[in-house]
């Protein structure tokens, strides 16, 4: 290969790399729009008890916050109406109306959870009493035995004249490290917990709240679910209610969990449903219904384009002022498909010039892969096979009419359209392919394909034609598979300069004058003669 060609190829690769490095490292823009990982499909279903009649049944609804975003909501009350009411410690959903025969009503949300860190100063000046905190300071009602047990623990772990922050930490460490977590034994009595030194999450949280309040520190028990795989109660993703705490420090509610050992932070696994749980009991233990919460992770392939647009606007660079993401959405969606075509061409060149596949036409496999992508692989293949068979049949019949080439091809084109109409009608009745929408260019592709195919059958025989057909379908399948890699699409769409590297790869392949793999078979007689 000539020196100038090498320089060109290396130059194209370097240009790609330089541009991407400049954008991601110098301008500090994300390599690709980040993936929204933590999406959950949460279902709050209420199984209405047979005794229930026309009445009001409440349940907690996930409440949007700075770490919880509701993406979509969906509900089915089977005739009951839903109202959502904002209460101090819960966002309360309420079903009202005649109890349906089905007995189970749903409320579903898709939500995103994020983690959050809090900073707690080690020393806090005394604060004036906050009337809003009064309800979080109410000491629990205790039996004399419980009070005595608590007192002896407090004497042990909380020294006199300790700061509030240190007192909270002492209580946290005691519950996290000394009281064992055991969700099979749920002691209802605080004295029993301290006697056995083990508790479930509810016991731990209640004890934490009680100990804090007795120190004059506002605290509350939070109920919700923790989206850890090991916390799933069954295969369908049912979760039992889990409890943790929030404590008021420095004018903020600071979350903590003595079960999993999280302090002044909350991971993206915690989904709170109600606060101050001791007084919110009636919400989940409604006499007329049993609440069941199921949560399943949404396999999300959504890239957060909005975030990325914000980033590139902020970067204020010439390169990014011309990002494809700033185009109108409909233009973007077309370009997202078109931008993959060069990769299809690379695959095609590889299979034709290096492996030695035969194909129909040159770009037919790439067009076919695009067709599959527009519909679906299964649909595309079925539709394509059907239409090719129909086309061959039509052509065999048309041959007898002795028509000239162009009118005959026009008739095939017309028949493809007719076939498409019939197919659409049948599909409408059977609903076999829900994703079916007739698109423009597949019709042209199939028409050209049928013409080439039947001509090749006549000229080169069945064997060669089948080879070309197999080659076309194999390459189209692999190309379709590569087209389905979302990350590749996103990388190229985010950095269209990768196409310069594609050109470089094509130059390298264009300069390949070595043998094709298929030529080993083709010239095997020559190889044999040598031995």
């Amino acid at each position: 290969m000539r020196r100038s060609t090498w320089i060109l190829v290396i130059g194209l690769f370097l240009a790609t790399a330089a541009s991407i490095i400049y954008k991601t490292f110098y301008l500090g823009v994300s390599f690709i729009p980040t993936v929204e990982k933590n999406l959950w499909n949460v279902e709050l279903s209420l199984k209405l008890k047979p005794s229930a009649r026309s009445r009001t049944i409440g349940f907690p609804v996930p409440r949007p916050s700075d770490r919880l975003t509701i993406k979509s909501t969906q509900f089915d009350g089977k005739g009951m109406s839903l109202t959502i009411e904002k209460r101090p410690n819960v966002l309360r959903g309420q079903w009202q109306g005649k109890v349906p025969a089905a007995k189970t009503v749903f409320y579903r949300v898709v939500l995103e959870l994020r983690e959050k860190q809090y900073t707690v100063p080690s020393f806090l000046p005394p604060e004036p009493p906050d009337p809003r905190m009064r309800e979080y300071l109410v000491p629990p009602e205790l039996s004399p035995q419980e009070a005595a047990a608590l007192k002896s623990v407090e004497d042990d772990i909380i020294p006199d004249n300790i700061s509030r922050v240190k007192a909270v930490k002492a209580i946290y460490y005691f519950l996290h490290e000394e009281v064992l977590y055991n969700d099979l034994r749920s002691w209802r009595n605080l004295q029993e917990i301290l006697e056995h030194m083990e508790a479930d999450s509810r016991g731990k949280a209640r004890l934490f709240t009680a100990l804090c309040r007795r120190q004059g520190i506002p605290a509350r028990t939070v109920g919700g679910i923790v989206l850890r795989p090991e916390r799933r109660a069954d295969e369908k993703g049912r979760h039992n209610i889990f409890y943790w705490n929030e404590v008021r420090l420095d004018g903020k509610w600071i979350p903590l969990c003595t079960t999993y050992g999280v302090f002044a932070a909350i991971t993206d696994e915690y989904l709170p449903l109600f606060w101050n749980a001791d007084s919110a009991n009636e919400i989940i233990n409604d006499e007329g219904a049993a609440l069941r919460v199921t949560a399943n992770r949404v396999e999300s392939t959504e890239f957060s384009i909005i975030e990325y647009r914000r980033e590139i606007r902020k970067a204020k660079s010439w390169l990014l002022d011309h990002s494809l993401y700033l185009l109108p959405m409909n233009v973007q969606s077309i370009l997202k498909v078109l931008i993959l075509i060069p990769f299809g061409a690379v695959i095609l060149v590889f299979f034709r010039n290096i492996i030695g596949f035969k194909t129909f036409g040159i770009f037919m496999p790439v067009l076919l892969a695009l067709f599959f992508r527009e519909t679906s692989y299964f649909f595309g293949m079925s539709f394509f096979s059907a239409i090719v068979l129909a086309g061959i049949g039509e052509r065999t019949l048309l041959k007898r009419l002795r028509l000239l080439a162009v009118p005959r091809m026009s008739i095939i084109l017309t028949l493809v359209v007719v076939f498409l109409c019939v197919f659409a009608l049948i599909n409408h009745e059977t609903r076999l392919f829900r994703e079916f929408t007739p698109a423009l260019f597949p019709i042209i592709i199939t028409t050209i394909f049928i013409e080439r195919f039947s001509l090749m059958l006549e000229e080169e025989g069945t064997k060669n034609t089948m080879k070309a057909l197999a080659g076309t379908v194999i390459i189209a399948t692999i190309t379709f598979w590569v087209f389905s890699i979302r990350t590749l699409q996103t990388i190229v769409f985010t950095h269209p300069e990768t196409l310069l590297s594609v050109i470089a790869v094509l130059i390298l392949m264009g300069k390949y004058t070595g043998y094709r793999l298929s030529e080993l078979a083709r010239f095997r007689a020559l190889l044999g003669s040598d031995e």
């Binding site: 002795r402 080439a405 162009v406 000229e459 070595g514 793999l517 080993l520 020559l526």
Partner: protein
């Protein structure tokens, strides 16, 4: 390396043929000279290269109405597309009987059928790129008796690869029952290698496999001396001056009465000739890459090429 053996044998692959021989030696502007047989025939007349007579070149659908009159003076003729490829769209008529035409192979056809076929040619059905084409009514080659036992239902031709005006490899292509009388290897014709210096057949390839006897006639295929061999080579290398193409395949038919006639030329000759000769083509081509050919006429080039090839092997 898996390809080391092919390389050692000097086999020419598809990518190398295009990248190292066609692209540097064949200029795009020269392709029409060989892709259109009408153009080739005009050029051949100027260069004194004999080709079968074109009785008539039909360019428009209107001319087809008088096809009966056009064909009236000829009992035997060939209809072919001017810009066809791989022997597609060729109909050979060997005679007439009861108002019908007898095709090579014995089947009958009507004027109506021929007219339809020619209309398809004009429409571009057999054209190399699908554009409208011209149809040629041409002299039918009378097969030389040397091929009587080894050709089936059709006329064989001789393909000579000419590189920069030097003959480098040759084979004869023999029609079979499978190929339907056509001398096209893809369609099942036989490729029989020819010893370039002596003009004697060597090995035979059928669908990439080496065979010894004709599948239809059962006759052995090696050791047959091609008559007028030197004339064939001289005629072939003149194709270089005619076309300007450095890497060229010249197809020549041997007529019983008129001797060798150039049928057509090909700017993209196939690679199977290597199997027919059991020899790599690339190693034959390489010695001629830089060779100075100034002042050498056709005869001198043939002589020089045979010397170089003999010395190398």
């Amino acid at each position: 390396m898996i390809f080391a053996k092919l390389k050692a044998l000097g086999v020419l692959g598809m990518n190398s043929r295009i990248g190292e021989f066609m692209l540097p030696h064949n200029s795009r502007k020269d392709y029409p000279k060989v892709d259109d047989k009408v153009v080739t025939a005009e050029l051949a007349a100027r260069h004194g290269i004999p080709m079968p007579d074109n009785y008539r070149v039909i360019e428009s659908f209107g001319e087809l109405r008088e096809l009966g009159e056009t064909l009236a003076p000829h009992d035997a003729f060939v209809i072919k597309p001017a810009r066809g490829s791989m022997g597609n769209g060729i109909i050979v008529v060997t005679g007439r009987a009861e108002g019908q035409f007898i095709r090579a192979g014995g089947s009958r056809t009507t004027l109506r059928n021929l007219r339809y076929h020619m209309a398809q040619i004009l429409g571009g059905l057999y054209s190399i790129n699908g554009y409208p084409d011209r149809a040629i009514v041409q002299y039918m080659i009378r097969m030389h008796p040397v091929f009587n036992d080894i050709s089936f239902n059709g006329v064989p031709d001789i393909r000579v690869i000419v590189f920069r005006g030097f003959p480098v490899m040759a084979m004869t292509r023999l029609p079979t029952g499978e190929s339907g009388g056509r001398a096209n290897l893809h369609q099942g014709a036989l490729g029989v290698g020819i010893d370039l210096a002596r003009g004697v057949t060597t090995h035979c390839v059928h669908h990439n496999r080496i065979i010894a006897a004709h599948p239809d006639t059962g006759r052995p295929l090696a050791g047959i001396a091609i008559p007028q061999w030197k004339d064939i080579l001289h005629m072939a290398v003149k194709g270089y001056e005619l076309s300007g193409l450095g890497y060229l395949g010249v197809d020549i038919a041997l007529d019983r009465d008129r001797g060798p006639l150039v049928l057509e030329m090909n700017a993209r000759p196939g690679l199977t000739i290597q199997l027919a000769n059991l020899t790599g083509l690339k190693k034959r081509l390489v010695p001629f890459m830089e060779l100075d050919l100034s002042g050498m006429d056709a005869k001198a080039r043939v002589k020089k090429a045979l010397e170089i090839i003999e010395r190398a092997e």
